[in-house]
């Protein structure tokens, strides 16, 4: 730890005065702080052994050190470099064990081992009080509600491991003024295309996230990753027309090199933004896509399929949703009505369809251990059209009598972990996209996802596309705007008759789930697919 070196002379004077007066000065939070606080976490966890009926405790301590900038239409709107430190405690306690949780951000002033130890200890006491009160109430109501059960966690290896972040160019070494300059230049270039581009904005963040996980089972895992992301928004509008809006991301769990071309598009942020701006402008001259009342042949590209697999495969295969824990919020899953009546082992898609969730490969959903310390592994969700497995956490695995597969994550360390998608994708096929398109006599090519709306148990969807093209006799012809597709999920999956060999994973940074809602980054993707769906369009308002 060191005192902030980047302070002004005036502030230094004030700080010196404060030191003399005994006013504490904040330490600058850096990811290295975890090395200093590790022993404190281990000690506090050890001390929970003296708490009556305390069955299990885990603590996550996380630091995110980041730089960011934002510009609109070539004008600076903000920049900064900051770090956040927070912790979360999960505890199982009571005769019929129940959960209690406490989480809190921590400031630099409290980041010394002694002060942090006190805060953590207070948090343990809060989590314990909640777990005990909860367990007592559970016991009180159990005679009238037999399904109330003590929490069981399926077994997992208690690992000790350290994983470092991977990058070519350390996000911490990039001057924040360079980040702002990139935002100003890129948004200015997009806006400068012409008067029909009234708005263009660029947001960039680059940083390192590091989290320590320790539990009473003996796990102690320290893993870090870099994160670099560029977000573009562009609005194009011809005089008096309906604006066309594009919102897209470039990102990966790596360093600054991501925005210089080491990404899925193999494009720099500036080139990517320029491409999207021109595509959006081109769309303003296209006709609106007419909606259809009957399904038509649709070919969906990998970018579109990223959101499709997210909504109709990823979410319904989350075990917490299937076990009804999200009934009031993100919804249930049509794949599990109850433990006896469900789709496990049944055909839910064409035999050409394979889908999996794999945190072990690169992408926004990459990690080696989940937020419960369970080793990450590939989860085969759909094999040859047959539904095989849910993504789960240890509690859900115990209920389902499955093995835990390491799918729990929390957005920040002070949030409660939930089952989240990892890199959840349609598997690659063996047909070229050109061949898939060439076989279509009369259909539509659905290009790049936009916005989803999915029904409560994920049984029906409507997803809009950035662009839709008519396909006639195997050739792409007319461009349409403001279109998309809608279908029942199972019908769409069962009607897939071609799977491309152009697999890609895209960054999805904003998946919302839980209460309070947590926004999570996941990787989604797949190859080109061909199926049947109704077309949706613009309704003049």
């Amino acid at each position: 730890m060191h005192i902030d070196a980047d302070i002004t002379p005036a502030a230094t004077t004030i700080q010196n005065k404060e030191r003399k007066r005994g006013i504490p000065i904040a330490n600058r939070i850096k990811t290295e702080l975890i090395d200093t606080l590790r022993e404190t976490v281990v000690k506090v966890i050890r001390q929970t052994g003296s708490l009556k009926d305390c069955r299990y405790v885990d603590v996550r301590l996380g630091i995110y050190e980041a730089k960011y900038a934002h510009a609109e239409n070539g004008k600076a709107k903000g920049m900064g470099e900051d770090a956040s430190l927070s912790f979360g405690i999960r505890m199982l306690a009571g005769e019929i064990s129940a959960w209690g949780f406490y989480g809190q951000p921590v400031g630099g002033i409290e980041a010394g081992p002694k002060s942090f130890g006190k805060i953590l200890d207070l948090g343990v006491r809060k989590a314990y009080a909640r777990a005990i009160a909860n367990a007592n109430k559970k016991a009180e109501l159990k005679p009238f509600a037999s399904s109330l059960t003590e929490v069981t966690l399926a077994g997992t290896d208690a690992r000790k491991d350290t994983l470092h972040s991977v990058f070519d160019e350390d996000p911490r070494s990039v001057p924040v003024k360079e980040i702002l300059a990139l935002c100003i230049k890129t948004s200015g270039a997009m806006h400068g295309i012409g008067k029909d581009v009234p708005y263009a904005s660029i947001d960039v963040q680059t940083g390192i996230h590091r989290e320590l996980f320790c539990s009473t089972e003996g796990a102690c895992i320290d893993q870090a990753h870099a994160l670099t992301q560029g977000t573009i928004t562009v609005v194009a509008q011809r005089a008096g027309g309906v604006p066309e809006i594009c919102h897209d991301y470039l990102g990966d769990l790596r360093g600054w090199e991501v925005l210089q071309g080491k990404n899925i598009y193999r494009q720099s942020l500036a080139d990517f933004a320029w491409m999207r701006a021109h595509e959006t402008l081109e769309l303003t001259e296209a006709e609106f896509l007419p909606a259809t009342n009957e399904p038509v042949v649709v070919v969906t590209n990998p970018h579109f399929n990223a959101l499709l697999v997210h909504e109709i495969v990823g979410h319904p295969t989350e075990a917490d949703r299937a076990l009804k824990l999200e009934t009031a919020y993100a919804g249930r899953s049509w794949l599990l009505r109850d433990l006896q009546d469900n789709e496990l082992g049944k055909q839910i898609a064409s035999s050409l369809v394979n889908a999996y969730s794999d945190p072990c490969v690169n992408g926004y959903g990459h990690y080696k251990y989940d937020a419960e310390g369970t080793p990450a592994k590939r989860v085969n969700l759909i094999e040859n059209g047959v539904f095989r497995e849910f993504m789960n956490g240890r509690e859900h695995a115990a209920i389902l009598k499955h093995r835990p597969n390491g799918s729990m994550r929390a957005t920040e360390s002070h949030d409660v972990p939930l089952v989240r998608m990892t890199n959840t994708v349609f598997a690659n096929g063996n047909k070229s996209p050109a061949e898939i398109l060439a076989e279509v006599k009369d259909g539509y090519f659905i290009v790049n996802h936009r916005i989803p709306s999915i029904s409560e148990s994920r049984e029906n969807f409507r997803i809009s596309a950035q662009k839709v093209y008519k396909i006639e006799s195997g050739k792409i012809t007319k461009l349409y705007r403001q279109g998309g597709i809608t279908a029942d999920s199972k019908d769409f999956l069962m009607n897939i008759d071609a799977v491309g060999n152009d697999f890609s994973i895209f960054p999805i940074p904003n998946c919302g789930k839980g209460q309070p809602m947590q926004t999570m980054r996941v990787g989604n993707g797949g190859p080109t697919l061909r199926s049947r769906a109704k077309l949706t369009g613009h309704r003049a308002g």
């Binding site: 903000g78 951000p105 809060k126 009804k324 109850d338 916005i451 049984e459 309070p516």
Partner: protein, 488 residues
């Protein structure tokens, strides 16, 4: 726990410090302490469960400064924050960041100046600040008991799901600036939203309760209401795709406004040229029956605040009046950017909300408080129903999104609960949940309003910060599509 006196001392001393710094033209210091408690309910009669899944909380405090620097020809503005450090050292840390990160933004005019006097005083519940862990857990179990008690009484004991939460938010903030702002705010919010189902019957009901004071908070009633509503919809039917006259109940009205209408009535959307209301100020944009305003100073309402996170007293901002577009929600920054000789926007809605809390890590954005929807000639719920000769009462919708961007107005969502088929002005049968998708355009919806009911209720939507004071609204000619045939 940090008390309000400490926050006030911190921001006042902070301003004294910032005034003395070189090149500082103007400055603002904001300090807050918040706690967000959630008790999540999860009961499944046929699957092992916890009843209350987890009682949890996050809390934090901190300081934010905005500083205007003048050096050379350009004025620069910087933002910095310090977490969990309500001391002079925290102000120094935040100031260092602001100085390091200052930028020239040609759209920035000046920091907020004091305007008027706040209406609300002492509207929070001190008992909520002292609430114990045992009490919060108890409130969660009360919600569950309400649902299970109703099901048990009506002899439904299997295939039951009850989910939802108790949420308690405690907020304290203070703000001072070189422009003369020196004020504070304290608020307490209690909400519960409970969804329960008899899953084998494919029925779902919703109950909710809100209060600023714990003594008036009744999660048990919300649980009971959810079960009662689910039971009422047993035996639901499907409908064929087509255009229907509908009544949007309170939750759908809140959902449509929170996700589509209100975001489009913010200067943020004007700034991004992403709103169907762009260039329509003063024009008729909706049925003459519709009036919409934001009012952060309604006594007893859970969206109310005394002052914004920029220190401006809350109050009423008219948005749509008798169908005419009359205003946009604004913060200080965008109100000054868009001020002109013909239009001005009172910056009452500059808040730093993050997951329901007033966060020091954020610069003020634009957030609604209490959105109130009124009718020109309001009618009773019974009279509203009589407007539908052949239509649908829609009680709960889900996943409402502007499919082609806000400006296009297209939206879709699915009907998931609490809904009925109406014939000859009477409810004749429940509508089966998850079998209908709404495909429409929001401008069509607000233009085709034919009646608005006179009984409003504070309604919240998952993931939204605001509260909508919602009546029920009857609308002509809404496209409803039959979906999910494969689930039977």
């Amino acid at each position: 726990m940090i008390d309000t006196g400490m926050l006030r001392t911190c921001v006042r001393d902070g301003i004294d410090f910032l005034k003395k710094q070189k090149d500082v033209i103007d400055a603002e210091v904001f300090a807050s302490w918040n706690e967000h408690i959630t008790v999540r309910i999860n009961y499944t009669s046929d699957i092992p469960c916890n009843g209350i899944h987890e009682p949890k909380s996050t809390q934090g405090c901190g300081i934010a400064v905005r500083v205007v620097f003048g050096s050379g020809k350009e004025t620069k503005v910087g933002f910095g924050s310090s977490s969990n450090n309500i001391t002079p050292g925290g102000v120094v840390e935040a100031f260092n960041k602001a100085k390091r990160n200052k930028i020239y933004d040609p759209d920035f005019v000046s920091l907020p100046a004091p305007v008027g006097k706040a209406v609300l005083e002492n509207y929070h519940d001190p008992a909520v600040f002292e609430i114990s862990d045992e009490t919060i857990v108890h409130l969660g179990w009360q919600g569950l008991k309400g649902a299970l008690g109703e099901y048990n009484q009506k002899r439904f004991r299997t295939s039951i799901i009850a989910g939802g939460d108790i949420t308690i938010i405690k907020e304290r903030m203070a703000i001072a600036s070189t422009k003369g702002i020196d004020d504070f705010d304290e608020s307490t919010i209690l909400t519960t939203n409970i969804t329960s189902m008899i899953e084998r019957e494919n029925v779902k009901g919703t109950g909710w309760n809100t209060s600023t004071h714990v003594s008036h908070f009744n999660p048990e009633e919300a649980g009971r209401e959810s079960a009662e509503r689910a039971i009422k919809t047993i035996g639901g039917e499907r409908i064929s795709s087509g255009t229907y006259d509908v009544i949007f109940g309170r939750q759908p009205v809140a959902d449509l406004f929170a996700n589509i209408v209100i975001p489009a009535l913010s200067l943020s959307s004007v700034n991004a040229t992403d709103t169907p209301f762009l260039g329509k100020l003063g024009q008729m944009v909706a049925s003459e029956l519709l009036t919409v305003y934001d009012d952060g100073a309604i006594k007893g309402a859970i969206g109310s605040k005394k002052i914004s996170c920029e220190g401006i007293p809350t109050g009423r901002t008219d948005l749509i009046h008798n169908g005419f577009l009359v205003g946009f929600l604004a913060n200080n920054y965008l109100s000054k950017k868009f001020a002109s000789k013909v239009a001005s926007f009172v910056p009452r809605n500059g808040f730093r909300f993050e997951k329901g809390k007033r966060s020091h890590t954020r610069q003020p954005g634009i957030f609604p408080t209490n959105i109130v929807i009124e009718g020109k000639e309001e009618v009773s719920g019974r009279s509203l129903l009589s407007k539908l000769s052949n239509g649908i009462y829609i009680g709960r919708i889900w996943y409402t999104y502007p499919m082609n961007g806000l400006a296009a107005g297209d939206f879709t969502s699915t009907i998931i609960a609490d809904s009925y088929v109406v014939k000859g002005g009477e409810i004749v049968n429940p509508l089966r949940p998850n079998t209908v998708r709404i495909n429409s355009n929001i401008m069509d919806i607000i233009r085709k309003i034919i009646a608005i009911s006179n009984d409003k209720r504070q309604t919240i939507v998952w993931g939204s910060e605001e509260v909508v004071h919602t009546p029920e609204i009857a609308v002509q000619g809404v496209q409803l599509d039959n979906i999910s045939d494969f689930i039977g």
